[in-house]
Point group: C2
Chain length 113, copies 2
């Protein structure tokens, strides 16, 4: 399978795209590309492309309703990315804890001749 986590990060690594995502987060009923385009400084087609990137990375889902297509934030779309970040933070914390315990059991070693 393709690397989902990288795709999610890449999708959020663009200001316009993250703006769209935030916009959708605030709209439980979803929004159409056209509606998003009027608020954004770029064309509708640019928005559509961004929405496709967001959809491909699993951050957003599209639902057709008659002649319009509404986009919604997907549930748990950011879960994998989020847990990856958490894993990294935990690794860091473990390292700090280890250093601190070493310092406790062997105090003031730094500077002894």
């Amino acid at each position: 399978m393709k690397d989902t986590i990288t795709d999610v990060f890449a999708a959020l690594g663009d200001a316009t795209r993250r703006g769209i995502y935030e916009q959708l987060l605030g709209n439980p009923d979803g929004q159409t590309a056209t509606a998003l385009a009027v608020a954004a400084p770029v064309s509708r087609q640019a928005i559509v492309k961004h929405l496709q990137v967001l959809a491909r990375s699993g951050l957003v889902v599209a639902r057709r309703d008659g002649r319009e297509v509404r986009y919604f934030v997907a549930p748990n779309g950011t879960a994998s990315a989020s847990s990856w970040l958490l894993k990294g933070a935990e690794a860091w914390d473990r390292r700090v804890a280890k250093l601190e315990s070493q310092a406790r059991s062997n105090p003031r070693r730094r500077g002894t001749p």
Copy 2:
């Protein structure tokens, strides 16, 4: 100020770069670009460029020691990105909670003629 969060996501939105970051996470003593390059499938200069991107986004710090430069993961480098993701997840949860409370106070409405 420049948008830090977007930079962090963009930096992690590349497989090679995230691999380097993971490599550094496992090395408390840091690693040089040359050392990282032997394990990676790309050239040293490519690694250096990636490290510069990671450094510019605040995920990594460089420390010169004699003739070599060691790279370390920065503490709390992912904090802003992480909290942004958390904020989004909370917004989602609030929406779900609201829907559920509505469903509770007005049960089985869906389907009534």
